[in-house]
Symmetry: C5
Subunit: 382 residues, 5 copies
């Protein structure tokens, strides 16, 4: 477990709120470890699209309004000043900005006077599960997204914008917001499928070779599913709120698509809950398997011990001092020329056979190393 502690520790540190208890609401304190913001703008209409990397938030004033829809994507939350200036330009409430920086919000939607504020969580699985908070502001013709760090699941949406695929270029900002949320939601499917595979893997191993690593693996999967559940459950509520509430920021046509997206999030919940139940069942199988193994070991011990104990008693009883002179049948071995070496060889042979039997049973030997290797290989590669 030693090599696992470092990611755990890092996860733990990230979990802490940046704002200390008792601070004034709306206090922005950036995580010193967070990356500096990188701002990208994609402004587009049905006929044109322009894409810029922006250094200063003020440059946005020129771009906004030139096209039907403007999408401002901020990657990295390490600079409070930039966020403040963005907030001022777009009239973002300080409580919303605080939520942008405190990256452990539950997915939710809040309506402000001139924009919707949406918190969602994007899951990533490379080696270990990680969820990243994505906050999204939807105004009349602008979408602003804040990400914790570079790298996201929005690339296909950007490609659709650039290549004018589907209807995305002909629709308004609400459709872009839907497309982004849909991309976030659907990105959970391949991750959950991976967990499905892992569970099937463990199902196969738990009967064959129940060891402590396995219970640690099951626990790890249950923990990750708990993390996914904490993200997916409020996600579902959030998308439902978007699809049902009559907010002016989302058009009727986009609502149909959001309902489709809602269906997907319900499916996700379903998968998470099913996997959780199966994983819980695996714990029982594991305990049963261990106990069955113990039974098996005890049986071997009992059989061999209870057969030889009375026999040894009999040898003790007679002291095996049969008088060799009374009969040729009485312990002729004792007078053999190779008698002692023969007895030693007999013992070596018996011991050897038993050792081979135990090694075959997997009770002796480098099993631990092999298991550790197997465990590492079935972890997904980065």
């Amino acid at each position: 477990m030693t090599d696992d502690t470092s990611p755990h520790r890092s996860r733990r540190h990230r979990q802490s709120r940046r704002t200390p208890p008792g601070a004034p609401p709306g206090t922005l304190i950036a995580d010193p470890a967070a990356q500096r913001p990188k701002i990208t703008v994609i402004a587009y209409g049905e006929d044109a699209l322009e894409e810029h990397a922006i250094a200063e938030p003020e440059e946005l004033k020129n771009i906004a309004g030139r096209h039907a829809v403007t999408w401002i994507d901020v990657e990295g939350l390490g600079d409070v000043d930039t966020l403040n200036r963005l907030g001022e330009i777009f009239g973002i409430h300080r409580l919303a900005l605080e939520d942008v920086i405190n990256v452990y919000q539950r997915p939710k939607v809040e309506e402000y006077d001139d924009h919707l504020f949406v918190v969602t969580r994007m899951a990533q699985l490379d080696g270990m599960l990680d969820t990243e908070q994505i906050t999204l502001f939807l105004a009349a013709n602008t979408v602003i997204t804040f990400q914790e760090k570079p790298g996201d699941c929005f690339e296909p949406v950007r490609a659709r914008l650039r290549q004018k695929r589907g209807q995305i270029r002909t629709r308004r900002a609400d459709y872009l917001a839907y497309a982004l949320l849909d991309a976030v939601t659907d990105a959970y499917f391949p991750i959950l499928e991976k967990y499905g595979e892992r569970i099937e893997d463990i199902e196969a191993r738990v009967i064959a070779k129940p060891d402590t690593n396995l219970i640690a693996d099951i626990h790890g999967i249950k923990r990750d599913l708990l993390t996914l559940r904490r993200a997916v459950w409020p996600q579902r509520e959030m998308i439902n709120a978007l699809a049902r509430d009559t907010t002016p920021f989302i058009g009727e046509q986009t609502r149909i698509y959001l309902r489709d997206c809602y269906d997907h999030s319900v499916q996700l919940m379903d998968m998470v809950e099913t996997y959780r139940e199966i994983a819980t069942g695996l714990t029982d199988i594991h305990l049963s398997s261990i106990n069955t193994r113990l039974n098996e070991i005890m049986k071997v011990l009992t059989i061999i011990a209870t057969i030889f104990i009375p026999l040894t008693f009999i040898t003790g009883l007679y002291g095996m001092n049969f008088q060799t002179d009374k009969s040729p049948f009485n312990m002729p071995e004792l007078s053999w020329y190779w008698g002692y070496p023969y007895a030693l060889s007999l013992m070596a042979a018996v011991a050897g056979m038993l050792l081979i039997y135990f090694i075959r049973k997997g009770w002796i030997g480098g099993s631990r190393k092999r298991k550790r290797n197997r465990r590492h290989t079935d972890r997904p590669q980065k």
Copy 2:
């Protein structure tokens, strides 16, 4: 477990969504392994019925409208083009078509302008449990059903149509839709009865012979019941929505029948939940049985060991070097002509008796093979 991995793996692959995350909504990507569509039409009124296999969707335009009700049944989803053309002819929304192809939807009902869209799941049990998605479009006088593959539980409905049994020929399209959903719902009953039998089977065996295969069987049943629950639970909601909502596509008289169908789905839920609780209880019995067996084994070991250990100590204590010359009672065996063979035979007899005892107890021997056989035979044959 090795022979079980292949079906698991196939099930896992099928579980993945065909549409990649971030793709435009309504993207249709057929599963390359899916079968090519086979279209059958049954058009009927009170007096006449005609039945055709159709090659091109366009042929449907001629048939629709000739009779009171037209039922178009599409088996196989392997060709996006055919689905697209069907969708165009009947004005099906692209999101609905996407759901037709992504065959892991939960049962649900959605109302569009000119048709109801219903997703349901048909369960099949040959060897292993499988659920197949069935999508159904109900328009004013047309019912379209999409199935993943040939083979369904609709044959009795077709027979009722052809033989004019019951009132089905005199009723409208909504009644046909009800009859199909009712057939899907009622088809769960024989499957659940099979699981009831399996559970009773395991109940009998778990006390008599608790082994690891059994816990794997219990886990398998719990997993299958979880699958059934995921299908039946939203099925119940879906039928309830059909029976209660005031959609124009379903007449008042048909609603009475749908309420009956709803009662059946509630009964199904009841059975699933009851079986799940019993299966969970079996895990406890299994663990108790294993521990009881361990107790029994330990008892035998303890009894034999603790009886012979002091005896062997006594033999050791005196070294059994009783001086044979001091008394005729002192170890006369040592001077017997057959003394050593007698001692050897005594040992062989004791060892043999113990071996027979252990074999009778089922601790030694080909028990594993026998169990494996039994397990295979109590699986239902294809």
Copy 3:
């Protein structure tokens, strides 16, 4: 468990729906094993009461209307024709008739144009728990009850009618329906009390003698409580619906009595849930008890083995070849006249004492037979 399989199997067969999936709704297929219907009529008013056994349903037309209230009781559902004719005479919907024959309905109430249709379940406990479906039609001045087989809990109601006890003769048909449902509900109390006794019995035994039969008994009780729960829970809802809904078939005064009946069904639920929780707790105690016993056995083994193992080593170390000629203290036993018999007797004495100890502990002996007997006697006699 072998002698238990036959009732299980029969129960399983009865569980299957008579109507095959896909059959037209309202299809009546009688269970070939069901008994032929036996129809009894009690017609009464405040002043008069007549009671008849009826051969043909048509005879009912003469009797109905002669008195204020007519109660038609049909015992046995083995003849579809009779049910059909009854259905026609009283205008019963075919879906309701189908429910009468498919005897695994959940308790429910349905309102039709000219009658209420009520499904309830009557529990019986002779040897093993059994629930029988009772269906009840309540029209303006007629009550029809269908029972699976003769024998019911309505005898006290019949006695009240005949002997004019209470107010039953002065009230209308709705009060008779209430009286019957109340009798069905109250009949659960003595059955649940029996389960309370059984649980207390097991509570006492689980600490003293935890064996595998006991866990099977606990499982059986949990299974039966599950069956009772499946019957009582919807029963409660059904009675609540009758007491609260404003159906014209039930008068305001009778509603007060139904509310009392509802209170009883809530009490039943309470008892069922409490017993279920206690039974679940018993499984934990059972496992703990088994493990405690294992501990005890291991302790005895450990104590005796670890005491004698070093001693035997010492005897082995010196080979006990103390030279008898060097000292009168050196193994004088070897030179005794009765030395060898003395040693043998010593061993026999030790072995005997240990055997007696183990028999007293209950580790050896006919304990299994005794337990089986006990188990049979604490089952209620038929």
Copy 4:
């Protein structure tokens, strides 16, 4: 457990309903074991208070009306006639009277035309937990309470009435009813605190000395908490109904006090649920502790056995027949004068040391008796 069976049995018998299934509603059958009613009246206004023991219910007619409020307290339900006469005098519905006698009602409130009918349960803990049904009728200026047996938690209320403490003498009958219900509710607190203490006691012992008695104690506590939960949960609903519903029998000012009483009942529920969760956790600890102990025992056995087994083998291998004449180092002990006694003493010393070690470990000895004593003493004395 043998000495526990008698209270269990008595509890079981009391659990049965007095009214047989199928009897006319409102049938009153007194428990033959119940005590004869003892009627006490306290009539009071702001200025005066009189208190009488009454022999015949008819005497009440004279007292009622003389003062602002009349409280009639009936202890003992063993005489149907007295109850009937009371019911007639105060116009009590027969179904309510039936509930008074069937003392296993859940707490509830029912409104009749001229009185409120309240059922509550008073908990008592002397040695074992017992709950007693208290029924309360609240009319315009009269409160009637029925208790199963003498002895209650109303003494402080009587003292407040007599000593004119608080505002109770200046308020109406509804305030008296509140004061009584509040006394019943608050009487649960000291009982639950006792269970809190017992749980802490077990928490301390479960790690130190996990034995079977302990799991029986945990089970007993869980059972009692279940009983408390069954009483407290509907109590909470009942008080909530009194505080929220707009019944004319309860004034607005008294409602504020009932809301306070409701808060207390919520706190009770909270405590019960918390204790239940802790007790459930204790079962897990218990099992873990037992298994840890088993581990420890096995370790000792394994260490001693595996050290001495190879040594004994070596002694056996050489037969320890080293030729004493070849070297002075070869087994000089055999030729010692005190050789044999020395060996015997060595064995006795080893055996003695091991015995002392096992007794210190608590594996041998009168531990059972000590535990039983401890268990008895930590039960509260009557």
Copy 5:
């Protein structure tokens, strides 16, 4: 566990209600162990702030009204008289005062005519978890807070008031109440993070070294999380009620902040529930780990015993009396000069090697002391 009993006992005593059952409502009985009240007043407006320690409640009359907002903070509840006088000055209902003194209320909000009454719980973690009741009265321009003892999480709020940070000085009393509740809510985050760390700590240890102390630690964490849940769950409801209800005491603008505070409390619940699930999973791992260890021990015992038992039998069989004169290979050791010392040394070497092996395995030795130390050090220092 012995050193843990004292804090438990003290916690238990504090848990008891001060008001005895049956006492008149509004009875104030101070805990004799409670601290005497210390009253501090901070009165402030946008421009000025004054801060006083007050000896007599009557001094408050002069201060109140001088500035826009007055915050009276009472630390210690040990003097009924002071509380009474405060109650009279500010018109506090006696039931509310009773709740102030009975410090085991659940968080709740109650509206009185001229003030809101809020109960909340402040968590503190120094060594062991403790929750302190804080009651808050919010009138038009006054906030009164009652604390059980000195020391709170309000210091940052006081600093904001003094230093005029944020908008707190420009807002009304409702904003101060919000700021205090927000400080209480946010103070749970660092505590929960601590529990997250502890759980991760145990996760690492439970696989490596499962011992009984660990299960006690897990139980302790579960218990504390239960305590936190009991505080946080109603806290969430209370804040939600404040944010949603249309009470005149809270302005529209402050509601936005309360909604933010509500989000935090939902996040807290989420963390508590997640940790509870993980902790429950740890119990399973613990049991599995113990059983795996037992398996390992049994394997070593079985291997060594079953190898040597047959060998010892063979040595016994031949008595190892090979005749040394028949062959130079026959037991030459017996005639060696150093034969006996050689055998003794061989045994000592084997025993030594096994002892080293067991010590390395951690089966022998001062492990207990080491574990106890480790446990103490990972407890947080006061």
